[in-house]
């Protein structure tokens, strides 16, 4: 989901608002191809800074439209075992051999932000919670899609269990592979959003996000973080790795 064309410039790792702002400018400046420039000059849009800001504000508008279109009860279609895509495609912002291999026995899931009980969770503790599994389609922002099976803890139950502020706006994810993303609370509470502990692929295969991934069948693949190390709940827009570079934040399916 996350390997895609990238601008040739230094990569952002942390959330730094000032850098983000500069990044946005750069991203859309690069976005002005010859064709677009020709069109734009014909339309008297002279400086690309104004166009950048316009595109960004339309993307924020599209976030709101998608949030309004999102039905918290509507379930993503589910599929049969026979329809599962094998092998399930690997995708990240790095090549496959660079996927982290995490020791499940020493793994701890950290919690922060608007959460009452911030104690970290071991894989064993997570396994002890009620489990569910589902076969859903993951749609990539690139256009392809694949059907896979994920099992784990329904995310709503987990959020309730840890005393998360369910009226907060965002749930953010920091990952062991330096990836990050965030989703709206309504989507976090959707019945199919899963704190996944079981992944596509052969038993023991870790590249799909072991030990913890968040599966969000109502959003594009890049909103489904793998190798999750920390979950935080916040009212401040957290952005994310691809979102800060210009991909639409809501990205609902």
């Amino acid at each position: 989901m996350r390997r895609k064309e990238r601008p040739s410039k230094p990569r952002l790792k942390e959330f730094q608002p000032q850098i983000e702002r500069i990044e946005r400018r750069l991203f859309l400046k690069q976005g002005l191809s010859l064709g677009a420039l020709t069109l734009l000059s014909a339309c008297n849009l002279k400086d690309d800074d104004a166009v950048d800001r316009l595109l960004w504000s339309i993307s924020r508008w599209n976030d709101r439209v998608q949030a309004a279109l999102f039905d918290p009860q509507r379930l993503a279609p589910t599929y049969t075992e026979a329809e599962i895509t094998r092998p399930f495609p690997f995708n990240a912002y790095y090549e496959e051999p660079l996927a982290p291999v995490i020791d499940g026995s020493s793994y701890r899931l950290s919690l922060s932000g608007r959460i009452e009980d911030k104690q970290s969770w071991s894989l064993q503790d997570l396994r002890a919670l009620p489990q569910a599994s589902q076969i859903t389609r993951q749609v990539c922002v690139e256009g392809w899609s694949a059907i896979g099976k994920w099992g784990g803890v329904p995310f709503r139950q987990f959020l309730e269990r840890i005393g998360a502020d369910l009226s907060a706006r965002y749930v953010g994810f920091l990952c062991a592979d330096k990836y990050s993303t965030s989703i709206d609370m309504a989507t976090a509470l959707h019945p199919q959003t899963l704190l996944a502990l079981d992944f596509p692929g052969a038993p023991g295969e870790t590249k799909y996000g072991y030990p913890v991934k968040v599966s969000v069948p109502t959003k594009l693949g890049f909103k489904n973080p793998k190798f999750v190390a920390e979950i935080f709940v916040t009212n401040d827009y957290p952005g994310g790795y691809w979102e800060n570079l210009g991909y639409n934040w809501f990205s609902g399916s």
Binding site: G31, P77, Y247
Partner: protein, 213 residues
């Protein structure tokens, strides 16, 4: 071709109404952005064994192309709805476009095809009527199949109507191909028939044809 009523009784040729001209050029801009950015999006995960030449695309990279695509879609839809509302309300469609009865359309087809480039002013010939009505249908199909790709969960019935997510991508692609074919023909004729391009800008009918009337 919506006619200005003032000139009607005098036997003069009639040009395009201002509303038609404005929505035409907004649509032209939106369509070019949609096609150019759509090609870039296609390149990220091609359906066929080819990619579009990057220099011909809009957006520079995938996120840029998506930003353009999901911005221009509003322009395309809002402008398109305004055009359709005007076309039906003003009588422009009934009068000029939708008279595609089998008789008028096909009996004169051979004759009209040979005289297509003569381009009668103030009236659409059957070929034009079919093409201009058809392209509205193609644009509508592009919008609807695009929504099916954009929201395969929220609008899953629509996506299922197209046969599924992947099938909707193919429909979207084929509709784009049809639109490109229309644009190629339309632009070629617009440049080869004297005065019609200017007419779509100024509203004044082409001279040569005007004098014929």
């Amino acid at each position: 071709m919506s006619q200005s009523r003032a000139s009607e009784g005098q036997g003069e040729a009639r040009g395009h109404a201002l509303f038609v001209r404005v929505t035409h050029w907004i649509n032209a801009f939106a369509v070019l952005v949609m096609i150019g950015s759509g090609w870039r999006i296609y390149n990220a995960s091609p359906l066929f064994d080819f990619r579009f030449i990057p220099e011909l695309t809009v957006g520079g990279w995938l996120a840029g192309a998506l930003a353009w695509h999901f911005a221009a879609m509003w322009l395309l839809v809002v402008n398109g709805v305004a055009y359709l509302a005007y076309g039906f309300a003003s009588g422009h469609f009934w009068r000029d476009l939708l008279r595609i009865g089998p008789i008028s359309a096909y009996r004169n087809l051979r004759l009209e095809w040979t005289t297509l480039t003569m381009h009668g002013v103030g009236e659409y010939n059957p070929v034009q009527r079919i093409l201009y009505t058809g392209v509205v249908g193609v644009l509508a199909l592009l919008v609807v199949s695009g929504v099916a790709i954009w929201k395969p969960v929220q609008f899953q019935r629509l996506t299922a109507f197209f046969g599924g997510y992947d099938e909707a991508r193919y429909v979207h692609f084929y509709a784009m191909t049809a639109l490109c074919a229309f644009v190629a023909l339309h632009v070629t004729l617009a440049f080869s028939v004297k005065g019609v391009l200017r007419s779509m800008i100024t509203g004044r009918p082409p001279k040569a044809a005007a004098s014929k009337e």
